[in-house]
Symmetry: C2
C-alpha cells in the first residue's frame, strides 16, 4: 500500500524554504498534504505559505532531527542539509526521499564524479586535488575547470582555469579539476522514480547560461538537437536512477560537446530550475511529480502539451536591496506568457527572484518571445546599494 | 497604472475560505500576493494555506468591515457575504471586485431574473411570487420550477413543481416560478474583464448533473454541440459583462433547450466549479484569470491546450463524518488524470470534497476515462453516521 493511503493528512517536512519549496507547496495543496518547512532565513519565500514555517539551521543535526520528529515523510529543496540527521529520521521509520546516503554523495562533487567513473557513465575527465600544491601538477593539462568539493550550486565554487592561469587565485580545497570540454549546448533531463520502481523522464531542455551570472538565463524545451541526442540524454538519466536506486526527482545536467558526445555534468536530487517550465508546458509539473514519486503514487505523464521556455528573473547585476518589478504589464500582454514571483525580500546581484514561462506552438515565435521578455522585464532596487 | 504595480506585496482579502479560496491561493502564490481569508468555519479548506486565516461571519457587517480594513484589494469566493460592508470598504478606497452592487443583485434571484428581462437577455419565462397564496395563481402554468430568492447554490432552494404538484410542500418565500424548459444540455461559460475593459471568454463546457445530488457530477470541454451554439453561449456571456459593467470573473450557467435556444440560467461573479478543468486544460486557469482581472493586469489566453473533463468528488450519499479516499492509485495510473483534494474535515452527503481533472486528445477516450474515474474513486466515511 502506498504511503499516501496509509494515513489521512500526511505531514510532509521540507528542508529548505526557497522558491522550490514554495512551488512544491502549490502542488502539495492538490494532495491536501500538511507541509512543514525549515529554513534559516525568517524571510524565506515559504514563510506564510507553508502550513508551518520553522526558522532553524539545515546543517545542524539537532535542528534537523527535532524538525523532522513529527513528520511522516521528509524531503529537501536544497542539497546542503545535514544528511546524518535525515539518516536517523529514516531509521526512526520516517519515509525520507531522496535517500540520505545519495544526498551525502551528491553534496561532495568528488564523490559525484567518482560515482560516474565507477559506473562508466560518461563525464568530463577529472582529477582529485587536495590542496594548492597538488593543483600545480595539472599545469600541463590547462585549460581546466576547478570545482570545489562542497561549494554549492549556481556556479559557486566553480572556476575556469585558462591556458595562462597563474595558480594564484584563491580556491577552496579540497576539490577536483576537470578537462574543459568544448560545449555545443547544455542540456538537462528531469527524471522521477517511485519506491515501486516506476520511472519516467521528461523531454530534455536546452539551457542557455547568463554570460556574467554563471547560471541559467533561459531554457527551451524541446531542445534544438537531433532526436538521437535527446534519446541519449534520456538514456543517461535512466541509467543514473537505476545505478543510484534512486527514489524522488533527479535533475541531470549534461554537456553536449562539439564532438557530439553527451557528458553528465552534475545532478540535483530534487525539483530543479531546469524543470520550471513543466508547471505549465508539460502534462505533469516536476513538483507534482516529485510528490507522486515520494508518496509512492503512480507517476504522471511527462509529454509537452506545447513548446515551452523559461526565463529566470535575476536580481539587478549591481545593486542589492528591496526589489520592485518593472515591465509586468508589457510581458503579460504577450500571449502565452506567465509570471512566477518568489517573494524574496532582498534582491542581490543575479539572485533568482522569479521566473517567466512562455508557451507557443511555433518555435520561431517562442524564441522571439524569450528575447522580448528578457528585455521588457527588470528587477529594480529602491534605495539599493 | 494597474493595481498590482502601485504597491509591493499587495494584501488580498478573500471572503470565504472554501476550495475556491484554496485554489485562488495556489494562483496568488505566483504573483507573490499576501492572501488573507475570512470564513466562519475554523476548519475551512484555506486554514493553514492562507497567509492569514480569520474565523468570522461573512454576513455580519462589522465582521467583514474589520476584516477588510488592512487589505488593499478584496474579492469573494462565495456570493453570500455582506455587500454593504464591501461597499463601505470600496468607499474607503479599497479595490473591491466584483462590485458590491452587482453582488447585491446576484444574491437575489428575483433581481437577477429581472436584470435579464430588462436587458432582453434570453432566460426562461418567470413570475415573482411573494407567498404561498400567490403561488396558487400559477397552478395553470405547471410544470414549473420554484426558486427561492436568497437560497444559495448547488440546487439549494430550487424545487421542481410537477404537473400534479399539490401546493403543500414547504417553500421559502419570497421567490419566483420559472417555466420548466425542456433541457437538451446545460452549458457554462467563464468570462473575465479587467478594469481597463479587456474581456476574454473561455470555450464553453457541458455540465452533466448528478441525478440525486442536484449538482455538477462532471463536465467536459469543449461541449458536444454545434459551433453556432458555442458562439451563441459566448456571445451571451459578453453581453452580460457589458450590461453589468462587470470586473472580475463571471461564470454564466445556461440551458440549451431541445428547441435549440440558449437561455441564461444563473450567474456567479467568481471562480466557479464549471471552470476547474481550466487549471490544467486551458492556457490560463480561471483562478489566475480572476487575479489578472482584479489586479488590472492583461488577461491570459483561454484556449484549451487539450480536451478536458472534470469529475466532482462528492461526499458519501448517506453517511457524514471524517473522510477517507479510496481508489487514488487506480485513477492516477490512468494517463492524464489528476487529483485535487479540498481538505474538508467532514464529509456530508454529496458535499464537494475534491475534483479530478482528465486530459485527453481524443474525445472517446476522454469520455471513457470519465466513467472509469467515477467508478474507481470513492469517499468513505469512518465511523460515519
Amino acid at each position: 500500500m502506498n504511503h499516501f493511503l496509509q494515513k489521512n493528512k500526511l505531514k510532509l517536512g521540507v528542508l529548505g524554504g526557497g522558491q522550490l519549496g514554495k512551488m512544491l507547496i502549490q502542488a502539495a495543496i492538490d494532495f491536501d498534504l500538511h507541509v512543514k518547512v525549515l529554513d534559516p532565513n525568517p524571510e524565506a519565500p515559504c514563510r506564510g505559505t507553508a502550513h508551518e514555517f520553522h526558522v532553524g539551521s539545515l546543517q545542524d543535526e539537532a535542528s534537523v532531527l527535532s524538525f523532522g520528529e513529527d513528520c511522516d515523510i521528509l524531503t529537501i529543496e536544497i542539497e546542503h542539509v545535514n544528511a546524518q540527521a535525515l539518516e536517523k529520521l529514516q531509521q526512526m521509520g520516517k519515509w525520507v526521499y531522496p535517500d540520505p546516503k545519495i544526498l551525502g554523495m551528491v553534496q561532495d562533487k568528488r564523490q559525484q564524479k567518482a560515482f560516474y567513473a565507477k559506473n562508466q557513465l560518461p563525464t568530463a575527465a577529472f582529477w582529485l586535488v587536495d590542496d594548492s600544491d597538488q593543483l600545480l601538477n595539472f599545469q600541463h593539462k590547462l585549460p581546466l575547470v576547478y570545482k570545489s568539493a562542497y561549494a554549492g550550486y549556481d556556479g559557486k565554487g566553480v572556476k575556469v582555469l585558462p591556458n595562462d592561469f597563474k595558480f594564484d587565485a584563491p580556491l577552496s580545497f579540497p576539490g577536483l579539476v576537470e578537462k574543459k570540454v568544448e560545449i555545443d549546448k547544455e542540456l538537462a533531463v528531469i527524471i522521477a522514480r517511485n519506491p515501486s520502481g516506476e520511472t519516467v523522464a521528461y523531454p530534455p531542455v536546452e539551457m542557455v547560461f547568463h554570460p556574467e551570472g554563471n547560471l541559467v538565463e533561459y531554457l527551451i524545451s524541446p531542445p534544438d538537437v537531433e532526436e538521437a541526442i535527446e534519446t541519449k540524454a534520456n538514456s543517461l538519466a535512466f541509467q543514473l536512477v537505476e545505478k543510484l536506486n534512486f527514489v524522488g526527482l533527479l535533475a541531470v545536467e549534461m554537456f553536449l560537446t562539439k564532438k557530439g558526445e553527451v557528458l553528465i555534468n552534475e545532478i540535483a536530487p530534487r525539483p530543479h530550475n531546469s524543470g520550471h517550465h513543466t508547471i505549465r508546458a508539460n502534462l505533469t509539473s516536476q513538483f507534482e511529480q516529485h510528490l507522486r514519486a515520494i508518496l509512492d503514487l503512480p507517476l504522471g505523464k511527462t509529454e509537452l502539451l506545447v513548446q515551452g521556455a523559461m526565463v529566470n528573473i535575476l536580481g539587478h547585476p549591481e545593486k542589492s536591496g528591496s526589489p520592485t518589478y518593472k515591465g509586468l504589464e508589457k510581458i503579460l500582454k504577450i500571449p502565452g506568457v506567465y509570471i512566477h514571483l518568489y517573494g524574496k525580500a532582498q534582491s542581490r546581484p543575479y539572485r533568482k527572484m522569479g521566473h517567466i514561462t512562455i508557451l507557443d506552438k511555433e518555435r520561431q515565435t517562442l524564441v522571439e518571445k524569450i528575447h522580448l521578455v528578457k528585455n521588457a522585464f527588470q528587477v529594480e532596487v529602491e534605495n539599493g546599494r
